[in-house]
Subunit: 306 residues, 2 copies
């Protein structure tokens, strides 16, 4: 079996990490790349995680067996429309977007019958962005969720799954709507809240704001790191996962209102019981080994000052 | 100048860390301890970060030059009332509570004229609790905020400040109300939100909840760690800092409502611009070196998956 030609559409953190990982494990015969910015394309070529770059997505995708979309999700539809005519029969379009139902909605209507769509989402990243931020080990030991529909060609699904496994990920299959609901609460709402509280703080009077920066180690700093993620990518995530995000945000707001009310009415019993029940889920995460994914677990953790 | 006798009222994370640090640097002639639980007292004595323990706070405080309150803030008033009659002239009461105006309000009315109150707040901690969780280095390189009133005896203030400096902290003086406002946004609201989102998640249907645990590395996990902090201590922080917390929570809610509205109305421009402005404050924190307090900074940070 010959190795596939792979096209990377988008050469930021995820695109460059994919390139590094594919090269490292020798998984492609040829890796082509496309990015909108000329500088990004040149940097990618200099670093060498792609073999060649093109000035259009269509040129990069032509002749590829697997095409990865690694760009903000708002661009998916027009990219798919652009490359569709030039794709070779049997080509597989896959992606790394954080929302999955919208990918199927965007691309399925224009998908050629001899081209396959395998939506994917590697649960991996850093707050860095750009072509210099990638590294081959980003996906090692992390989940990659694939959300094929019942109609998706099984060999195409297996091809994409094998590629993720070959670069070190654990592959999980899931319904796209369920994925979007789970990620709304585990990722999208936490990021929205982090952006929000950092925004609230930056509106404070200048003297208070300088003390906020000074004493940021008391909890706030963790939120600023999360809120340093790419604004365009996150804009698209919220627009693409609108339904699940608004649903989870409603629940979050109801619960926060209950806490606010308890504070206002000096209701210590309610506060204590609401603060206590969260320990179970923490324990489950530790039991599930999900806390160990962090390489620094086990040290004295000084981030939780108060 | 002879070394002071120090009493530690409360032998949890902060109390035990204080004991270890005071012992390590030889800063006391004698360290007495009190905790409500017999088991905690025995553990403290076994570990040896106190010289002796007593079954009452009054017994531990009698004869002490400096008395540290290291217990949930709801207990401060009754503790102060209990020990006041037995304190020796010139004794200094200080504390490590996360709210400062309420300490002054609670204790000042019953303070003897020959006893001094120096409210303090070390910006240091972990999500662990109990007498086995302390370590001498917890306060090294961390801020300790003291909030004396204009009436506070200056020698008492300097005695407490020197002790914190001797165990490695950077001491900062601040108005109590200003402290409470700054900590509301940097620490109390972040913790409230973390408790809240973990609570929202734990109310989800069982199958979704298990996937939330599985994919917690996508952002949620950081919140569960914060939400693992001691529920009683946090109950008291919110009750004690009610005014500033409710004020900051109102601002937070207004901003969150604006984001929610932008998502509902597909207003990508508003989302992108709100997500972009938070980068400035992040940059200020890095410039101020507050990001370096974390010993693991600089590694590939894999906590920001999405």
């Amino acid at each position: 079996m010959t190795k596939p030609n792979i096209a990377l559409i988008g050469l930021g953190l995820i695109g460059s990490s994919l390139g590094h990982a594919i090269k490292k494990h020798g998984l492609a015969q040829h890796v082509s790349g496309y990015a909108r910015s000329r500088k990004t394309r040149e940097t990618a070529l200099d670093i060498g995680f792609v073999d060649v770059v093109y000035e259009s997505a269509a040129a990069a995708a032509q002749g590829a067996d697997i095409i990865f979309f690694n760009v903000p999700m708002g661009a998916f539809y027009s990219l798919a429309a652009e490359i569709m005519p030039v794709l070779k029969p049997g080509a597989i379009i896959t992606d790394v977007g954080s929302v999955k139902a919208s990918v199927i909605e965007d691309i399925s209507p224009i998908l050629r019958s001899d081209v396959y769509l395998v939506p994917g989402h590697p649960i991996a990243g850093t707050e860095q962005s750009g072509p210099t931020s990638g590294f081959a080990e980003l996906f090692v030991g992390r989940w990659c969720v694939l959300t094929p529909t019942p109609e998706t060609n099984l060999r195409a699904v297996e091809t994409v799954a094998k590629l993720w496994r070959d670069i070190g990920s654990d592959v999980e299959f899931m319904d796209a709507d369920h994925h979007d609901m789970v990620l709304a609460i585990t990722s999208h709402i936490p990021h929205l809240i982090a952006y929000n509280i950092v925004g609230t703080a930056s509106d404070l009077e200048a003297d208070t704001r300088s003390d906020v920066i000074k004493f940021s180690a008391s909890g706030f700093r963790d939120f600023t790191r999360i809120a340093a993620s790419d604004p365009v990518m996150w804009r698209d995530i919220f627009l693409r996962n609108k339904r699940a995000v608004l649903e989870m945000l409603s629940r979050f707001n109801e619960d926060l209102t209950a806490l606010q009310r308890a504070i206002r009415h000096d209701d210590g019993d309610t506060l204590q019981s609401m603060f206590s029940r969260t320990r179970d889920i923490r324990k489950s995460i530790i039991d599930a080994g999900q806390d160990m994914a962090e390489p620094n677990f086990g040290r004295h953790n000084k981030t939780d000052e108060h």
